[in-house]
Amino acid sequence: MSTSPAAFKATAFRSELKPIWCPGCGDFGVVQAIYRALAAIGRPPHEIAFVSGIGCSSRIPGYTTAYGFNTVHGRALPIAQGIKLASPELLVLVAGGDGDGFSIGGGHVPHAVRRNVDLTYIVMDNQIYGLTKGQLSPTSPRGRESVTSPYGSIEDPVNPLLYVLAYGAGFVAQGTPADMSGLADVIEQAIRFPGFAFVNVQSPCVTFGQAEAQLRTHKAEMKKLADLGHDPSDRLAAMARAQEYGRALHTGVFFRDPTPRPTYDAAVSERRAAMASAAPSRRQVLDRFRPKLAG
């Protein structure tokens, strides 16, 4: 693992692909923040695997120079875990939208968290389905009018922050591209955290999003948790703050486990090392089927 800060500039992580995002999309800011965070981390692009699902935001791996995998809808986390467990030495990032992570792929999140695979999961939460042009998403607020809820949504949204805190994640943060340095900072902290780390990014949809949930309003209304005297080592305090999701925009670290749990990938490496020391030859594998009787 080579981590020499300043070894890579942020631009070293920017690919030549031109994003398909609409001008003004929050995701432009997210990818910039990721470039900055990766530059601060200092791992070369070929040691990074960046996995995503399907959606506007899931195009993001292609805009980096890392090994990217733009997979299928909702399944980025299982695929990312396979990568990390196969090659624990890699830095593995996962990204997607709120639909990818909390609707079609919602069942995978608690398991990635409870295994505590050392992944950084960045959700670009815009409360709408943008790629399919404006349908209700799992984080759309009650009452939201959309093309699939023309009379207003009659269901409550999920609370991604509260869910992931309750699942037991060791690192939970939120950011917005309205505060680029704050966003790059929480992403960098998430990557550095040893274990599953979750960053919810309020990344507005400029085309189908609500007028009152754009970067301008974020800038005016966001409250930094650090300024509120929040103690990020207290999970219950974090959950109390997370309750305000949808009513207030808190940025920064909600929770960072002061005594991180052991990671699954580290346990895998240890077990492999311990058990493979007495490795028999793969070519002798049929020996186990010899009957154990004298005859």
Binding site: A49, Y67, P78, Q81, G82, I83, P291, G295
Partner: protein, 596 residues
Amino acid sequence: MNSDLVIGMAGAGGDGVVSAGESLMAAAAAMGYHAILTKSFGPQIRGGESSCRLRLSTGPVLNPGAPLDVAVALNWDDFLRFGAELPVGGRTLVLYESASGVAPDHLPLAGVVPAEALPVPVGALAREAAGTEKAKNTVVLGLLAGWLGLPPEAILDGVRRKLARKGAEVLAGSERAFAAGLAYAGAHPTRETRHLAPLARGTAAKLLADGNEMCAAAAIFAGCEFFGGYPITPSTEIMQALARDLWRYGGTVLQAEDEIAGLGAVVGASFAGKKAMTATSGPGMSLKTEMLGLATIAELPLVCVNVQRGGPSTGIPTKSEQSDLFQAVFSAHGDVVRPVLAPTSVADTFVVTVEAFNIAEQYQTPVVVLSDQEIAQRKETVDPIDTSRLTVVERLRPTAGELEDYARFRLTDDGISPISHPGMPGGNYLAAGIEHNEQGAPTASGEMHARMNEKRLRKLDPLKERADLFEVEGPADAPLGLVAWGSLAGTAREARRRAAAEGLRVKLLVPRLLYPVSEAAYDGFFRSVQRGLVVEQSHQGQLFRLLRMFVDVPRGVERLCRSGANPVRPDEVLGRLRQMAMALQRVREAELQPQE
């Protein structure tokens, strides 16, 4: 003397008939006999009825055999629940618990009078010898050792091994129970001898395995480094065996939260450069379909084993069927050709699974292995496999030169593009389920899409030329032809050999490669065929229908197929072959008649 014996046993869950069958088989394998053991259980989680069928032979055994030479009914209700799985015939020796009060001439068997019926006080012998009815199965072993003429020491050795942890008292009781059974058999000789012919001196011991264990061993042999899966009957033993063994070889096993995640992790591991596998059954295959499509377009090697059971939906989880062929071949959106292989026996499961890894790695594609419950969960003796003759293929990596201007999906002559993986400097690329150009960049170009589709299909063409994946036995110019796959291949092999012994000119084709369909292999086979059968364990006859999609199947070739949990028997195949031979004869005679 008998060179071949089929023994069927049934009892209540705690009676231990399966355990008795296993002991008998272990002894037979150690002596060098050939054997197949199938087990069958009621749907209860614990307890309920259980049965096993053991075929012992001095020569290779091709299928579990039917009808029974020896039937053991510890309990008639339980025995009868297995119906066609334990077929009693006119030559069967039936031994049963005399406490059932059933008279030997009033057995509860419909429409069949067995050769001999022996009521035995099994429970009483067990209580007397060991003080518990738990020793009933050991009494049965003693009875069978006596009546089959098997060396008692070899069987007792296995019993001792099994009971080693239960303490000296249990062990001594069991030895007395065995001796009581043996003595009873000695005092009550059967009318007709049921002795199994002895083997030539120096016959080598056989290996003993079931199909699922063999599949796991093959994965290890082939270099598998990652397994991700979700428990599902009847494939779970593959994951269990790898969870026990793969770590020792530096690999990793993940029990995922669901079927989708299981294959997802495998896709990830393959992207990371490792050989990877999952195993499942029909309902899991349904869930894995999308992930298989991803592996196809991202050109990632992986092996997906489907141990088939009765379907659709939950179907009959514990019984064999061959009804997932259409699913294996066609369950994909888009223009997909996904190789599908099928093993025909426990031993074959090793070779076919290794081949599946090789094809996956060579052609950068997911490969489906269609096993079935019959092969997967039956125990079979296996002749030593010469693994030095098997090759292990690795995926094509980019050279240093190719990495200078790397294009992951380069359109090469053979359609195979060198594949990098995270950690490899200079190989960075974007893998995706989205259509892409040679560099991996997303594209919506119809022209590029057509070229990539063409590449992904063309690279698999050489598979159709793999004559070694098609086994033909019998005279090349035979007018009668059989086609069978998976566990039914053994049934067809036995039927063909018996038909040939009767003088019928019949040949058999067994495909290991089911898809892509090799037109050449079938055209060559069918050239001489006027009448024939495609033998399958599915209601529709899925291979028959698949062949008719790609091949000119002669009009005289029909299906012999039915739903699972009711195995097609060799004598049924033989009967149909005889009818077909007679029909051919009539046609020939009619042709020879002078025209009026």
